[in-house]
Amino acid sequence: MRSLFRLTRRQASTTGSFVSTSGTIALTTIRSQAGTLQSRMAQEPLEEYKAGGYHSVKIGDRFQSRYSIIEKLGWGMYSTVWLALDSA
């Protein structure tokens, strides 16, 4: 998907036709779309935060003294996925 990312970025910066020509509108639209998509899917079942289940993660948590949690990206029945900053 990285090639797609490059392509859309290039299109956005050269033609301006792929996203709104108004930065504010594009930003708001895409953010609300993302919100709609996310809210349509239920979040991970909280009762699975138990022994054998999900690990409780807080924003700002650090793993291996190296990966700092920025925010949640997604989840499945077998995992949660987090955006992290790698300081190494």
């Binding site: 895409i30 077998y78 995992s79």
Partner: protein, 151 residues
């Protein structure tokens, strides 16, 4: 426009992480300049002993880095175990991916219900090259719901 279309990110792979995500905010400069954002996938404790996923991801990373499909697959960067109150969790550090097709389509739906042909062609090409790598080099097939790749 360069300042508008800052960042679209999605993380995860297969059935375990299907949520798309888009972010466009002031922190982007910070994130982009470091080039060190990753997706940290934390498995539930009861399935963490099964390292099959990590093993497959390692195979995908190592079996032929010269194949053009190698760069078109989200790669494993690191993995480790984390001890928590709920048990031992396998943590997979993965490349952060771009937006899903599903999210991209939603994000641009106000302008056109269809993605531009150039984008569709690029996605199709990239996917076929990636699948060829998985099949011919890694000898792996995807047995899940194929719709997942678009979510």
């Amino acid at each position: 426009m360069g300042h508008v279309f800052h960042r679209l990110a999605r993380a995860g792979l297969c059935v375990n992480s299907t949520s798309g995500y888009a972010l466009f905010d002031d922190r982007d400069e910070f994130f982009c300049s470091t080039n060190s954002r990753v997706a940290l996938k934390i498995l539930v404790a009861k399935y963490s002993a099964d390292l099959e996923e990590a093993a497959k991801l390692e195979a995908i990373r190592d079996c032929n880095p010269h194949h053009p499909g190698h760069a078109r697959v989200g790669q494993l960067l690191d993995y480790f175990e984390h001890q928590g109150p709920h048990g031992t969790h396998t943590c997979l550090v993965l490349e952060l991916l771009g937006p899903s097709v599903h999210l991209l389509q939603h994000a641009t739906a106000a302008h056109s219900p269809f993605l531009p042909m150039e984008v569709v062609k690029q996605i199709s090409r990239d996917m076929l090259i990636a699948i060829d790598y998985m099949h011919t080099s890694c000898r792996l097939i995807h047995t899940g719901k194929s719709i997942n790749i678009f979510q």
